[in-house]
């Protein structure tokens, strides 16, 4: 079955006064209908830029230099302005990290949601208003009728994010892209929002792309995970398997850090150095300077994505399955 979204070998550059720099260097992944895919990465990984490029929302300095993005087989880059407007908000919805900057502070939230619907000429007038109240109720906003008359600053962070989600779902999109939707929220609210996203996804049959730096969130929510580092995909596969049996040293290291963090005991395992970005010129495997298991080949040649079967891939010469167990136990900093 054809995937809902196909991202193929996408490369994105940003232009600076000092010359162009690569942000994303050949990223490939698919999203199927109804599936929840988590894209995990730290600073410089290019995960947000990749997500935005799906909706052609790159800043003016950014440009996709090669690759293809197809939604239901249709080329996103070739879309006309008209089609693009239908596409954004209609076929694909997006939820950003900071709801305050995504909502217009001088318009009440109800009309903002209505406006989102208006563009896609699904509903109008009274019907739209009552649908807004419905949507707000669906995203668990208490007292939705009254809340729809509120201005964004009168709502808490959690409420605003729910409004964003309501806006994103207003036109029953086939795909929802959530870029760090809970990073700015408190822990107890985070959990509610994530559960909401999962439920809505199931209810509407919407596929979800969840972008985050937190592997633990992905573990709870997603079917598949794509791990990005320095502008490349370094591992992908079914979530449960990748997390229980990571093959790329970076994925393994992230999981190891997270695991140790939540437990007691001195001296955490820590990956040395700082996360690289695509524009850093690193010869060979981009992760090798920080990798505890690197061998000579890693320094000389960048590994391709190796198919591990069962929908799993990892970009590594060594692969964790080949690493002796005593090396992974108590790995020094």
């Amino acid at each position: 079955m054809r995937p809902l979204l196909e991202v193929s070998d996408v490369k994105i550059e940003f232009s600076h006064s000092s010359g162009p720099s690569t942000a994303v260097d050949g990223v490939t992944f698919d999203v199927h209908e109804g599936e929840c895919v988590g894209i995990v990465g730290e600073s410089g990984s290019g995960k947000s830029v990749t997500a935005r490029s799906v909706l052609r929302l790159l800043p003016s300095a950014g440009k996709m230099t090669s690759g293809r993005i197809a939604f239901e087989g249709e080329d996103v880059l070739g879309m006309s302005e008209l089609r693009l407007r239908e596409f954004r908000g209609g076929d694909v919805g997006m939820v950003f990290q900071d709801p305050m900057s995504s909502l217009n502070p001088v318009i009440r939230v109800g009309p903002q949601i209505e406006e989102a619907m208006l563009y896609h000429s699904r509903y109008g007038g009274q019907e739209a208003k009552s649908r807004v109240v419905d949507l707000l109720a669906r995203v668990q906003v208490p007292d939705p009728r009254m809340r729809s008359r509120a201005y964004p600053h009168q709502l808490s962070g959690g409420m605003r994010q729910r409004v964003m989600i309501a806006m994103a779902y207003a036109n029953e999109p086939r795909l929802l892209i959530a870029d760090e939707p809970t990073t700015a929220l408190d822990v107890t609210v985070q959990a509610q929002i994530l559960r909401l996203l999962r439920e809505l996804g199931r209810e509407f049959g919407t596929a979800v792309i969840l972008i985050t730096h937190n592997l633990a969130l992905v573990a709870d929510l997603c079917d598949r995970v794509v791990v990005m580092y320095a502008g490349r995909v370094v591992e992908q596969g079914p979530c449960r398997e990748v997390i229980s049996n990571p093959q790329h040293p970076y994925t393994w290291a992230l999981l190891e850090t997270a695991r140790q963090m939540g437990a007691k005991g001195r001296k955490l395992f820590a990956i040395p150095g700082s996360p690289a970005s695509a524009k850093d010129r690193i010869h060979g495997c981009r992760f090798h300077p920080r990798c505890a298991f690197a061998v000579d080949r890693c320094r000389d040649q960048e590994p391709p994505l190796i198919d591990l079967g069962g929908g799993r891939e990892a970009r590594c010469w060594v692969l964790m399955q080949n690493v002796s167990p005593d090396l992974t136990r108590g790995t020094p900093q």
Binding site: F14, S17, T22, S43, G44, A61, S277
Partner: protein
């Protein structure tokens, strides 16, 4: 190497001096501003050395139109307009710059203090600022010059003393923002006295905004000075652009080169200063944006 959502962007904080390094992305207008102001300054400084004609020398050829001998023509007393134009550039730029310096000096002090001290001191200083703002600059300038004489020093002082409120607001705004910055709090924790915080920690971060303000102030100071000169209230012994306009206005239809060249000089220079100020301002907000 940087944090933030689009980590692939340029460094988010300006390097020392980099604010003034023009980047190609800065835009046509700012580049234009630099060019124009640069040309004006060059004319003022080097002009008299290159074009060695006295601006005061009376000549035989009166009201001569622009030609090869007289690139900008001559006036009713046979004086070379180009020479007077170059000299006028000197005077106007000097008056403009000095007035702006006085204005920015007073303004940054008052505004900075108000922003830093806050509370009642802020309240009081801002009311004082508003009083000065309310006074109509041109009117007062005319009155004072008419009463106390039109020497250049007077003109500079008047303009400077009456234009500082704009800079005061900018300085105060910036200090208010900086006051809550973590590195300022850290400076307090490092035992810095308020004087050190203002001078070493805050000032360098306020200076770019003051430069913008100075640029714009220079433009408006030149305009005010020219206006005074146009009204005949400027220093009659110095051929400033305003004075040239004053002398040339009668000849607008008959010998257009008398008023038009100084007029163009004024407009372009002020335009250039505004573009320059805007350009630096745009760089600053770009940098703030990527933070």
């Amino acid at each position: 190497m940087s944090t933030g959502l689009l980590a692939e962007d340029a460094p988010s904080v300006p390097t020392r001096g980099s604010v003034f390094r023009m980047r190609p992305r800065l835009g046509v207008s700012a580049a234009l501003g630099v060019t124009i102001v640069g040309a004006a300054v060059a004319a003022a400084l080097i002009g008299p050395l290159v074009y060695r004609v006295s601006p005061l020398a009376l000549g035989a050829s009166q009201l001569a139109p622009p030609s090869l001998t007289y690139p900008m023509g001559t006036d009713n007393l046979g004086r070379d307009i180009l020479a007077r134009f170059i000299y006028g550039a000197r005077v106007s730029l000097a008056v403009g710059t000095l007035s702006a310096l006085v204005a920015v000096g007073i303004g940054s002090f008052v505004g900075g203090l108000a922003g830093y001290l806050g509370g009642r001191a802020d309240f009081f200083l801002m009311r004082v600022t508003e009083v000065f703002q309310v006074v109509p600059l041109f009117l007062l300038a005319i009155i004072i010059v008419a009463l106390f004489g039109s020497g250049q020093a007077n003109v500079i002082l008047v303009i400077g003393i009456l234009s500082w409120p704009a800079t005061a607001r900018i300085a105060r705004g910036q200090v208010l923002v900086l006051r809550e910055e973590e590195y300022i709090l850290a400076a307090k924790l490092s035992g810095a006295t308020w004087a050190r915080i203002l001078t070493k920690h805050m000032l360098p971060n306020v200076v770019p905004y003051l430069v913008v303000s100075a640029s714009l102030q220079t433009g408006s100071a030149i305009l005010v000075a020219a206006f005074l000169g146009f009204l005949g209230l400027g220093d009659p012994s110095q051929p400033s652009w305003g004075l040239l306009l004053n002398q040339g206005q009668l000849y607008l239809t008959s010998a257009w080169w008398l008023p038009v060249f100084p007029g163009l000089g004024l407009s372009l220079t002020i335009l250039g200063l505004n573009l320059l100020g805007d350009g630096i301002g745009a760089t600053l907000s770009q940098r703030q944006g990527t933070r």
